[in-house]
Subunit: 207 residues, 2 copies
């Protein structure tokens, strides 16, 4: 089965849109998804940004909100911007890194994004994250302890360094096994097509 | 007939993609297009950028080129980045401003973008622009003289000031008569749908 890496940052609004639909689209396309939670902060800092570009460039920020409202409405999703924006995605990213190892990254990621962008909740809050973990069937206390371990922290740092090496500059990004990079929720279908049709052995549905 | 304003800057790669397809899509949607050539330079300067963001952020620039190559290939369009990039779009923007008044803006705009991004030619070059004008049936010498007039310059400055007032921050942008703003070639179909369905009197094709 062809694979596609889904790179996302929990503070990212457009990553919310992708996280909520990627499994459905990937199943239709016959592509397996590798979930890659990473931190955009260090990458933004390296290009001189101290916060989200949507805050640095207010006209762009206003359009982003309206754009996501329109897309979310068309897809039947709720949307509200959390306060403050951007949220601090460090703790959920550490938990998701653990979730990749332990097999619960997908439901965890969807639940965090829904809490953040459908309900406007604070995703740096330990109680919120504990509640999400329990809801998806993961014991919260050991998961939170493991997420704070040196091992998980180092793994997240390695993932973020790999993102830089791959030339990622925003989220969501999609990377095919041949290195082809797609940026943005609006490129998800293209990325799935690419992942699918470049693997001659795969049986891609006609799109 | 519902109307959609198409705001574009001649240096903009994604505006090329829109300019080459907007009339076909607008005709299908039953929407009339108002061509709005403007200058992004003053807007970029106001947010602290001295050149294209694709030069300021090289990883983003590399992705943009690849992204446009993929889209252009899918649409049967040629693409090459002109040297230098971005091109100076001032003179073609003045000519297009005149073309709005005189009714030849659409074929002129398409021809300039094709020279720039399909053939890699210099669109600040007077000889190139004169050749394009003659090819679309416009006498070059009087058009170039009128484009340099105080009246045309002032009109382009007013259009660019209006772009800022509308909250435009990039190109292409699409603005509906109710003020709804869409940014990017990938939002063109949405913008046409919006222009169409918000005018209750219009007969929109089902999309």
């Amino acid at each position: 089965m062809p694979r596609l890496a889904f790179w996302y940052e929990f503070a990212s609004t457009y990553s919310y849109l992708s996280a909520l639909r990627i499994e459905t689209l990937a199943a239709e396309a016959g592509v397996a998804i590798d979930w890659r939670p990473f931190l955009l902060g260090p990458i933004f800092k390296a290009q001189g940004w101290s916060t989200s570009p949507f805050n640095l460039y207010p006209a762009k920020g206003r359009h982003m909100i309206r754009d996501i409202e329109r897309i979310a409405a068309a897809r039947g999703l709720a949307f509200r911007l959390p306060e403050p924006f951007p949220q601090n995605g460090l703790l959920p990213a550490r938990l998701a890194t653990l979730g990749v190892e332990e097999g619960w990254v997908a439901p965890f990621t969807r639940a965090v994004y829904t809490a953040e962008f459908a309900e406007g909740r604070d995703i740096a809050d330990v109680a919120t994250l504990a509640e999400i973990l329990e809801r998806i069937g993961v014991a919260a206390a050991p998961a939170l302890a493991a997420a704070a371990s040196d091992d998980t922290r180092a793994r997240l740092r390695r993932t973020t360094a790999e993102a830089e090496r791959l030339g990622l500059f925003g989220a969501p990004s999609f990377v095919c096994s041949d290195g082809e990079l797609f940026w943005g929720d609006d490129r998800l279908r293209q990325a799935l097509d690419w992942a699918c049709t470049r693997r001659s052995s795969s049986k891609c549905p006609t799109t």
